[in-house]
Symmetry: C2
Subunit: 353 residues, 2 copies
DNA sequence: ATTAGCACTTTCTTGAGATGAGTGCTAACG
DNA sequence: CGTTAGCACTCATCTCAAGAAAGTGCTAAT
């Protein structure tokens, strides 16, 4: 035998073997050899036969051998095939479903921040991996309300509340020592003008109106626009919640200090992780980035399982789990999927309208 | 040699040796033996003499031997003596001073949250240990402003701004579907009534007024008080910033999985850590909790270096660093001390008044 | 009082088998 | 012709013994 018919297609037997290897490796995180596998598979092949198949699979890039003897382990390519066509996700046990559903109870009374924080915690607890949740992008959120609170002679605290329930605040300098009443007038004006517009839109409109109405005589309006510009200015500080970094250490698969080191480095730069998560915003449902599929070098040894959460109108943010490529996909995928759904639901229910 | 005069007092020679041992262990984290030490000490003793002294120190509980041979290491008691009377803190290098002083620049424009977050980051970066910062207790903070923003038929978002610059928000249910105007009246009333009172005080006053004025006829006032009660209700979610958990892993001293495990467990329960930090609120200056001096079991192998930060009137919160008992005290202590000072300064400057 | 010397511990390192699991190849089998 | 048994070979890991390093306690000499 030997020469495979061009290495393209994988017949049923190969699939069985590959699936067996992945299953076994996911369970034990130990390289699996022909003899062991021969015993585990339900349909019996002799170790020799399996060796041949394995040899073919290696050639096709689905398996690799850490040492020339000592069994083989799946490559990222194998995991990709595995999740795409070798297995279907498990039914989520009721106990877990109801655990996640706890979120709904919070939904109605807690601010979004708390909701997201709890999501992170629950997900980290269930998966025993690192869990990430990005806060709704303020960029695309609609303005619910803006409020100015004077804090000293020339400083005023701006509070932005978005429709998605996020409260942002920052301090801006004012050109003069305005009284609080003045700010009340301004905020009334801005609220009236811009409610239900997205922050991005608002910024654009403000810029436009500044250009158009350069010669505006209404002092108050001019002042309002100027303050508004500062208030709505992009602030980089997008938020993210992270939990369970330490699960990784407890995880046997991550004892190799090297990989952990990489991840640690990654976690120190939240922004980097945010970028990765943002990439998933495009698609529906659960997304997988297996090993090398990750754009970030530091995640090359991990799989990122991500899904978006949303309200009726928009994608708001992303939830994600980072674990070893040899994670239990059949379990993790439905967990992430369901959590995203519940979170979407909870956040929609409390939507400010 | 041999029988020490009652084991109470430590003569100068013993101090030298003990200091040498602690210094050496801090630097190399390896048990130090008589021969090595004999070479390192500036005043020369023979290894044998040092052995005798060491033997006495062991008997007095300042040293212990991990193995019957292989050198000795300091006990927590030794570190305590060391920091109390064997060394004085280093002068803080200018480069580090100015690094910390970066905080002041932020101080005037950033909200407190950002300020604290940066403090945590800087301190973690400088010490390479875990760094903790508690947010000002809302309990004792004075009210700057309260604001209600209606978010749905029977829900209203409460925003509390304290004098110390912390913005808190939560959602409360309203008994009826009040219009926003109504809330504006209420918040005007509450602001007028309670500005510059501490949240704790306010709570008490509200309770009192509810008891006294049970038969109050003014509907509006009654409503205001009722909403006020909900708005000012204690919410447990005290905040804390933590950074540098991963520094510990990189740290050679913490390779022993056991200790790390303990710490990880500790870090998972932020509330526990908060409690520990709160204990330091009593005292001025830098506080040390060395090994067993820590109340929490999980910190038994670590030292907590903590200091308060404050504005002119009150202690606001605590900053802390957790590292191995064999940390470089001469360096860490002034770093924490200086950081607390700078933070106090920065937070006072931006104080809302 | 201090120090040199010595016998004794204990850890760490090193290298030599032995073991075990796995592989590739060849030849036999149905 | 696909499948399997057999065999020689390869590594990783374990164990064990020997030896080096570093340290200790004790005794005797200075």
């Amino acid at each position: 035998m030997g020469t495979r018919k061009q290495g393209q297609d994988i017949d049923e037997r190969m699939q069985m073997v590959l699936r067996g290897i992945v299953d076994s490796y996911i369970e034990n995180s130990e390289p699996v050899g022909s003899r062991t596998l021969s015993k585990q598979l339900e349909v019996q092949f002799s170790p020799a036969t399996i060796r041949n198949i394995m040899s073919d699979l290696s050639e096709m890039g689905y398996l690799m051998q850490p040492h020339t003897s000592g069994g083989r382990i799946p490559t990222d390519k194998a995991y990709r095939l595995y999740v795409d066509s070798l297995v279907v996700a498990n039914q989520l046990p009721n106990s877990i479903q109801s655990h996640i559903a706890e979120l709904s109870k919070l939904g109605t009374t807690a601010p979004v921040e708390v909701l997201l924080q709890n999501t992170t915690r629950i997900l980290a607890g269930l998966t025993k991996f690192v869990c990430l949740v990005t806060a709704p992008k303020t960029e695309v959120s609609l303005l619910q309300r803006i409020e100015f609170i004077k804090v000293s002679a020339r400083k005023v605290l701006v509070i932005l509340v978005t429709k998605s329930g996020v409260v942002r605040n920052k301090i801006i300098d004012t050109p003069e020592d305005f009284p609080q009443d003045f700010f009340n007038t301004i905020s009334a004006f801005l609220n009236d003008q811009f409610q239900n517009r997205s922050l991005q839109q608002i910024r654009e409109e403000i810029l436009r109106s500044m250009v158009e109405d350069k010669e505006r005589y209404d002092q108050l309006l001019a002042q309002a626009v100027r303050l508004g510009k500062k208030a709505f200015e992009l602030d980089e500080r997008e938020e993210m919640y992270m939990e369970g970094q330490f699960n990784l250490l407890k995880n046997e698969r991550f004892q190799s200090t090297e990989v952990v080191q990489h991840l640690m480095d990654a976690f120190e730069h939240k922004s980097m992780i945010m970028d990765v998560l943002d990439h998933t915003v495009r698609a529906e449902g659960v997304q997988l980035y297996i090993g090398v599929e990750n754009e970030s070098e530091n995640l090359r040894d991990c799989t990122l399982v991500a899904a978006n959460y949303r309200n009726e109108n928009n994608v708001l943010g992303t939830i994600g789990v980072i674990g070893p490529t040899s994670m239990n996909y059949q379990h993790i995928i439905p967990v992430v999927d369901y959590t995203a759904k519940i979170l979407s639901q909870a956040i929609s229910e409390q939507a400010y309208d």
